[in-house]
């Protein structure tokens, strides 16, 4: 290459726990044992929620549901770094983040039962509605970050999306805008390596997703997304940077979608059992258990206890969800506009 070099770039990768659960102490985030235990509980809760949701769907008690199995570390680790004042923009596969932030379990289930009333986020949380149009929530997050900065608020913004979303125009336009205005935002990409049947290689020729941030003039970091401590560490750093005026960060949490895309999908049609088995062995909950066990902080019995507690919470959530009366037809018009148009008002009367 006789031509001159214009610039060189580096993209880094963060992991704290290796696959056996032993930690790189230099990189351990500042977390108390209680905090780590709480993360563990939330990961188990997320797993229980997910398993229950899948079986409720099978019984016809929920609609189509997108499992999060395998992504618990990415979701719980990142959401644990958020504060209540922060604004969060989910896609549709972040139930672990919702649970971590305290979104009511019955309400979460109610959404997947096909009831939009469940999207009325409780007032103490700033979580946007689930967003099904892939990637289209990312510009909203940028707008919220602009507004937060305009208001001189200390809130930061986190937006969640998948590897598939990085192919969408909205991802690009939003990332670019965040770079131009140096906004207080963290882009959290859960690279679960599949977008329905399309593997990462079919999604982009980029060797990592993290390096995509180079196109926007800010930092992109690849994080071991099955390592809850690494995810927490990276998110926390990025949020601190955001709050202190350091601008946006892109986090690629490399993880794996252990289940089907949704309950309507059959992943066996397009990926190998070997691949799935490999990643089953990298289960993020297992890894954290190994870490905790090494210091005597976890025993199988304690593990069962945590699971039982989680199951009880989910049981109650299901009961409460199913006790909610179905919406009346007139509720079609709820929130259509602050004041209905004359035509809408007429249509409402007819119901």
């Amino acid at each position: 290459m006789p031509e001159e070099v214009l610039a060189t770039f580096q993209v880094k990768r963060v992991s704290v726990l290796n696959e056996n659960g032993s930690a790189d102490l230099a990189l351990m985030p500042e977390l108390s044992a209680d905090q780590i235990w709480r993360m563990y509980q939330l990961m188990v809760l997320s797993r229980c929620f997910d398993e229950r949701a899948v079986s409720l769907q099978r019984e016809g008690r929920l609609g189509t549901y997108p499992p999060i199995r395998g992504q618990e570390a990415a979701q719980v680790g990142s959401a644990s770094a958020l504060k209540a004042e922060d604004w969060v923009f989910p896609s549709f596969r972040e139930m672990g983040a919702h649970l971590t932030l305290g979104y009511p379990i019955p309400q979460l289930l109610q959404y997947w039962a096909g009831d939009e009333r469940a999207q009325k986020t409780p007032p103490q949380l700033n979580i946007f509605p689930f967003c099904v149009a892939v990637g289209s929530q990312i510009p909203h997050a940028v707008g919220a970050a602009l507004a937060a900065r305009y208001r001189r608020d200390s809130a930061a913004v986190a937006v969640y999306f998948g590897d598939g979303a990085t192919s969408k125009g909205d991802f690009h336009e939003a990332m670019n805008m965040a770079g131009v205005y140096q906004l207080p935002i963290v882009f959290i990409c859960q690279n679960n390596q599949w977008a329905i049947s399309v593997p990462l290689k079919g999604q982009t020729a980029s060797a990592s997703l993290a390096q995509k941030a180079l196109a926007y003039g800010f930092e992109g970091v690849q994080v071991d997304g099955n390592d809850v401590l690494a995810v927490y560490r990276a998110t926390n750093q990025a949020l601190e940077k955001a709050r202190s005026g350091g601008g946006p960060t892109f986090l690629e949490c490399l993880t794996y979608r252990m289940a089907d895309h949704t309950t309507a999908d059959d992943a066996g049609r397009y990926r190998s059992d070997e691949e799935v088995a490999l990643w089953n062995g990298r289960d993020p909950i297992l890894r954290l258990e190994r870490f905790l066990a090494a210091s005597g902080a976890w025993t199988p019995e304690q593990g069962r206890g945590v699971k039982e507690e989680a199951t009880a919470l989910i049981d109650r959530g299901v009961r409460e969800m199913e006790a909610v009366p179905p919406p009346a037809p007139a509720e079609l018009f709820d929130g259509a506009l602050e004041t209905l148009t004359p035509r809408q008002a007429g249509q409402r009367k007819g119901r």
């Binding site: 096909g114 192919s167 049947s197 999604q203």
Partner: protein
């Protein structure tokens, strides 16, 4: 003749045309290996290879845009948009390019592509999976809009669309995909674009419907002397069939699952009010969804026009 459902009929039309014409190339999210989320393209990648059935990245605008370039180059691409609700991000490509390429280049380039997309409500799916915004696309000059109402019309219309020299939006009523089976000839046949079908003869009132509403209308008109028109092509409208029916019956009811305001029912009613006014004995009624976003599963049945509302409209116009 085989009894096929709509998924099978569409699959057969695609396969036959791909075998006949190597310019036909499918592209879209999950259309290849997975055979499409509704299995409409099942087996086609195995049969025709990955170059003819392209799994794309997740990018509707570029799927549409690339199809335009392919069409201009001389192929006959068939982009699939996974659900109609995701055509919105490809809207500029469809509107400003696919539909205008022939006109912008004064015929130097043309854009023979068929955009396939599942359409309409009633499947209890997540948000944006049950859209029926066909009227928006009928406001795009240069684009044809087609909606089959069953397996037979699906195959015949799709074959015609695939051979049309201009872009066609082919809307597949998701609710019907596996609901009904019909005799579908294995041979090649086309249903001419721009022609409606009289699905039921009658003389007291004309009911116009398309897609999955047709089935509902046919079920609802029992006991009425109603003529039912199955539009099949939404743009261009078959004015002849519409007008001659309404001139005979003097009454018109239009049923669609889209919201009322600026729905395609408006165009049909306006055309009747322009060209058949003196034959009309009663107000032209539209039975539609209310002017609100498509709801999730719990309210979808209250949203879509049901038999009660259809019959109430019939009773109303028959008072005149």
């Amino acid at each position: 003749m085989a009894q096929l459902n709509m998924v099978q009929a569409i699959n057969q039309a695609l396969a036959d045309e791909m075998a006949r014409d190597d310019r036909v190339v499918l592209l879209g999210e999950d259309v290849g290996r997975d055979g499409g989320v509704f299995r409409v393209t099942e087996g086609l990648q195995d049969r025709f290879g990955a170059e003819r059935v392209l799994d794309t990245p997740l990018c509707e605008s570029a799927i549409m845009g690339a199809a335009i370039g392919m069409a201009a180059y001389g192929l006959r691409p068939v982009p699939e948009i996974q659900f109609m609700g995701f055509t919105y991000s490809a809207f500029e490509q469809l509107f400003a390019h696919a539909a205008r390429l022939r006109s912008r280049s004064r015929g130097r380039y043309s854009c023979p592509l068929v955009v396939r997309t599942p359409y309409g409500g009633g499947i209890k799916a997540p948000e944006l999976h049950e859209e029926s915004t066909e009227a928006i696309f009928c406001h795009i000059p240069g684009l044809k809009v087609v909606v089959p109402s069953g397996p037979y019309s699906a195959k015949g219309l799709l074959l015609a669309a695939l051979r049309d020299p201009d872009p066609v939006l082919f809307l597949e009523p998701t609710r019907l995909y596996r609901m009904l089976k019909e005799e579908v000839p294995e041979v090649d046949y086309q249903l001419e674009l721009g022609k409606a079908r009289v699905a039921r003869k009658g003389s007291a009132v004309t009911v116009v419907a398309w897609g999955s509403m047709l089935e509902r209308v046919l079920k609802s008109v029992d006991g009425y002397d109603a003529e039912v028109i199955d539009l099949l092509t939404l743009n261009p409208l078959d004015l002849e069939t519409l007008l001659s029916s309404v001139r005979k019956t003097g009454r018109a009811v239009i049923v669609h699952e889209a919201i009322k305001t600026c729905g395609l029912g408006a165009e049909i009613a306006a055309t009747l009010a322009e060209e058949a006014m003196l034959h009309l004995r009663a107000p032209i009624l539209r039975v539609t969804a209310p002017d609100v976003p498509v709801p999730l599963a719990k309210l979808i049945d209250q949203y879509l026009p049901g038999p009660d509302r259809i019959r109430a409209a019939l009773d109303e116009v028959l008072k005149y």
